[in-house]
Symmetry: C2
Subunit: 413 residues, 2 copies
């Protein structure tokens, strides 16, 4: 089992493209990335979700301002969600060569289409003849055409835009400075909201004076939207769900404990997780990202460096009181930090595993079945000897993640 | 605020039809019915869900064998889910008169159609002329026709079958005895599975030699299926959900804490509760009842005479351990019985209200924020002084509702 980001980092290394990998991601994903990749890659976190141009602009600023890369450094931008094979990374190598040889300011990867898809953007080359570096000059871009137009595009040799871009760092930084002029990466990141909410394709690729495309013909499966991801699922149902007899091209992915019953649906994806439930016609599934921003007041599932937690209940009562209940798992050998809360008490019931619990400087061994009561203002920590899960009930006011003061504890074992 | 069953019982009493009301319901609904109606009505509970014929046969057996009603007693069967006005109950009065005057063996209510619906069964009268009692002899029944056929039916004066039936008890008991011959109601109930799974319409109405219909023209809104219920909802969204711009005739009812996002749906109902999530084309929503039997291993929400509970987590871990976490509310002045568990320990954290807790014969006052630990084999009870909610974490093996021994506790206040 390998996550998308683990796979792509492994593939980049196996292709010996570079060891200098920087991951651009949302701040909320940082702990997941570090859990999966350790400290072997640099990570740039966007403080809020905007679009692909701001994300790439921030990553470029990091390379320029934090890592002091030179302006003529060749940078390749690639998404982590396509499922590909080794030839994909060879193609990326060719793209970098094209930039080094100044074939064009911007070089992108063109995926050889397998059918007239309405899901992708198309890149139309000037002519089908390739130059010495294997690239073709780009005449125009066409965003998600209908099937008829897609057939025409295929007939003139158009390729799918694979979202892989190569350029010299200085080229990108000239565009970045149109919005934010700064000598400091921290300052640029703090002013992130000044970048326009626009895709890299619209802001950079379509405006570029000189663009080339390098074709790739091998396996390429886009797993970045529910629409494309469900195409690759072997079974229509994952998790606790029952599909009625009158469904066509419908997929259910259920991470919740509640059963799902579906009938009479067409071309629909149903995805249920602690962060929310999506019921969406597949062709609209790309719009979900925009729509669900701020749908949950707090994240309902989070991975942390020490493990993960899931909110299982979050209720405000008629008398104004509030309680928050979580299922928290600490991985074997990890611990949650020695901490104190000023406004809430916590009751922890261990339901799996064994560990060492500290309360106000006193360590004790704890096991499944034990209940630990932590009043307001009492210091506590918990270390897992084996994988340890506990149910935490928080009471108090306010119940916010920020009510935490951390200090150091030296574990006896 | 009044539930469907509270409303219909109130209306029957206001119409002075009878004080002798018997409610036929599923065993799982018994506590809800008693909470809502007290002990003022008789309740017959079917041990398992079968269909309308077995349910009515069991209710008739109760009247005959448990209540010793005479064979010539007039019985009226009515569903509790249509939304109606006073004239509906006047019509029921007329139906009872028809049976008393021996107009027909079976008398049913015909709802005057407002449009050529495909959702209902139709009753076709012999002629449009009514006899002295206001009834018409029935020629035939037609189940859910298509729109064209429905228009034809309207043109010949057909009425919707409202699911209200009147007959003499002896008439029904002759049919009951085709399947179960018994002098004991308890015995009949124990043999409930011997009744065929068939609707009253098919087993009784369509086979009857002499059937009359009494028309009703007033307000009548069927709230018995999602398809008909959503027609009556003023807003398309109830609960935490966002409807995207490309939905038509779609309704979301969300009782869960997880947000729901919906887009691109047509004629769809999405209903989410702790017992499960339904995503269904409205016209198929009647089939849900059959499909979802046994979908959940345990009820995720239950009303009890003392309050209610909701399962918020139910997990089996890699080491084979199992934990069950519930949010439990006890209504003010009520208590849960003095009890002991032989295989599980419980940790209760009070999150709302105040009450009196008993552990092994010792009472103490408890409040929101308190955590109460109840090891295996210790007797305990809890009484709510105000509405009291607690989070219960069960650990042990097995975690089953049956692991409970109850005894008496005399509360000091």
């Amino acid at each position: 089992m390998e996550s998308m980001v683990q796979r792509v980092v492994r593939q980049v290394r196996e292709a010996e493209l570079t060891d200098n990998i920087t991951l651009a991601t949302n701040a909320s994903q940082l702990d997941i990335i570090i859990n999966q990749l350790g400290e072997s890659v640099s990570v740039v976190t966007e403080p809020e979700r905007r679009d692909t141009f701001p994300a790439i602009a921030l990553a470029a600023s990091y390379l320029k301002l934090a890592k002091n890369c030179p302006d003529d450094e060749v940078v390749v931008i690639m998404p982590c969600d396509p499922f590909t094979e080794a030839g994909y990374f060879e193609t990326i190598g060719k793209m970098a060569v094209c930039v080094e040889r100044n074939v064009a300011d911007l070089v992108l990867m063109g995926i050889t289409p397998t059918y007239p898809s309405e899901k992708y953007g198309y890149v139309v080359p000037e002519t089908a003849s390739r130059n010495a570096e294997g690239s073709m000059i780009v005449r125009q871009f066409t965003e998600k055409p209908n099937v008829e137009r897609a057939k025409q595009l295929l007939s003139i040799g158009a390729l799918w835009n694979g979202g892989v871009f190569a350029f010299r760092l200085g080229y990108m930084m000239d565009i970045v400075r149109k919005y934010i002029k700064s000598d400091s990466f921290e300052d640029t990141r703090a002013r992130y909201c000044e970048f326009p909410k626009i895709s890299f394709d619209y802001e950079v690729a379509e405006k570029a004076q000189s663009v080339a495309v390098v074709p790739y013909t091998g396996q390429w499966k886009d797993l970045g939207t529910w629409n494309t991801l469900t195409d690759e699922l072997r079974r229509p149902v994952i998790g606790n769900a029952v599909m009625g007899p009158r469904c066509t091209n419908t997929h259910v992915i259920n991470e919740l404990q509640y059963p799902i019953y579906v009938d009479g649906m067409e071309d629909t994806v149903i995805a249920a997780s602690p962060d929310g439930i999506i019921v969406c016609r597949k062709k609209y599934s790309e719009d979900i990202k925009k729509a669900v921003d701020n749908l949950t007041p707090r994240p309902m599932y989070e991975e942390r460096r020490w493990g993960s937690y899931r909110v299982i209940d979050d209720t405000t009562y008629a008398d104004g009181r509030h309680s928050l209940t979580k299922s928290i798992t600490i991985n074997a050998g990890k611990n949650i930090s020695y901490q104190v809360h000023r406004h809430r008490s916590e009751a922890w019931t261990i339901v799996e595993g064994e560990g060492i619990f500290v309360l106000d400087g006193v360590e004790r061994k704890v096991n499944a079945g034990d209940t630990l009561v932590i009043p307001v203002n009492h210091h506590h920590a918990l270390k897992a000897l084996t994988t340890l899960t506990f149910i935490e009930v928080q009471t108090g006011n306010p119940l916010v993640e920020e009510d935490i003061e951390r200090s150091q504890w030296n574990w006896s074992e």
